[in-house]
Symmetry: C2
Subunit: 213 residues, 2 copies
């Protein structure tokens, strides 16, 4: 495989339940659109049935190719339920702005979101596990993996890695200013967008030379 | 009721499933802590069973007292399932920073999150509906309700408002720098926190004088 012939991703699968019914003009089933949103966020919410009740957990994720990865403790109850066959619904949502309209009804939000239905596989191969963990760190800061201590055997044993196929997936987004009723444009009220995003502040170096008590 | 004797909120209910099993030192069941997190975020993910499958939807919310409110179309399938008796799991998560440790294993995130299990009531009374919608806008910009056009009868008819009791709830948070293994503190790698938050940019005024095509 060379750069001239990259692997072709399978298409996103459109099913009745991942086909948006409401405001469908805001929907997309393009892998490119979905991946771009996934690569801009850091946390997803995984929802699934655990012991008969719906549970949900916010968690860090990263994407490699057509899969979304999460990791955590081998004792995580949600992970266990998923590996026992429960299906997950994963959501990722980025808030891009508050849309201030001239009427209460047309207030809205600008956002980009992805919903994925999937059953995960556990990543078990030693080489794949190390490569996947490498990407979890490289995503945060390229080049960092070479500088840090790699996972030890006991650390690896306690860590479970799940890979969710990005296949039955959809994206939904809103952008732009308010859309008011024609008669409301003359009202003497400020209307527009308050844009927002995830912003990073100055890095705070850890000055400790040993673990804090 | 006067300001000197504010209504006393009922306590948060601690049950087996909202009692955190993992890293329980990061958990809180204080209404004050839970409310402070809820008031800093704008979107929640509502998860519930819809036609036998777990579905999840990111949505705008606001808090009034001991209840969390959402609104949307009367045709929303998730809303319908909830009013048919399905229980919701609501999550709110704020990312506060990426924690860069000296070892791969101790990389982490600073965050504040809330999980609520609840069945909603539909807000139906005319006066309460108007007051609740008022707060949805006032939350974004105090004083704004007086300036905008209020909801019309048809707009109100199409809008469903749900109120979730904040009772079976828990908060979880991490703060501070990395906590590495003692032997790793000498490694020549930058360690610390990349702080992040929801940041608002310059307001973008809508220059349109009629609805965009």
């Amino acid at each position: 495989m060379n750069d001239a012939t990259p692997p072709k991703s399978p298409p996103i699968v459109q099913t009745p339940r991942n086909t948006l019914q409401r405001l469908s003009r805001r929907a997309s089933y393009s892998r490119e659109v979905i991946n771009a949103i996934l690569d801009d966020a850091y946390t997803t919410v995984i929802s699934a049935l655990v012991e008969g009740a719906v549970r949900a957990q916010p968690i860090y994720y990263w994407r490699i190719g057509d899969e979304l990865f999460v990791h955590g403790s081998r004792h995580n109850a949600l992970f266990k339920a998923l590996l026992d066959g429960q299906e997950a619904c994963l959501t990722v949502a980025l808030l891009d702005g508050l849309v201030m309209a001239r009427s209460a009804f047309h207030h809205s939000m600008n956002y980009r979101s992805v919903v994925i239905y999937a059953r995960p596989r556990e990543v078990t191969g030693e080489a794949e596990r190390m490569e996947v963990l490498k990407q979890s760190v490289e995503r945060l800061s390229p080049g960092r993996w070479a500088e840090i201590r790699k996972p030890s055997e006991p650390e690896l044993r306690g860590t479970m890695i799940l890979a969710f196929p990005i296949a039955e997936a959809s994206a939904k987004a809103r952008e732009g200013g308010p859309v008011d009723d024609p008669d409301d444009y003359g009202l003497p009220v400020w209307a527009g967008v308050l844009p927002c995003s995830i912003a990073f502040g100055e890095p705070e170096e850890d000055a400790n030379t040993q673990p804090p008590v």
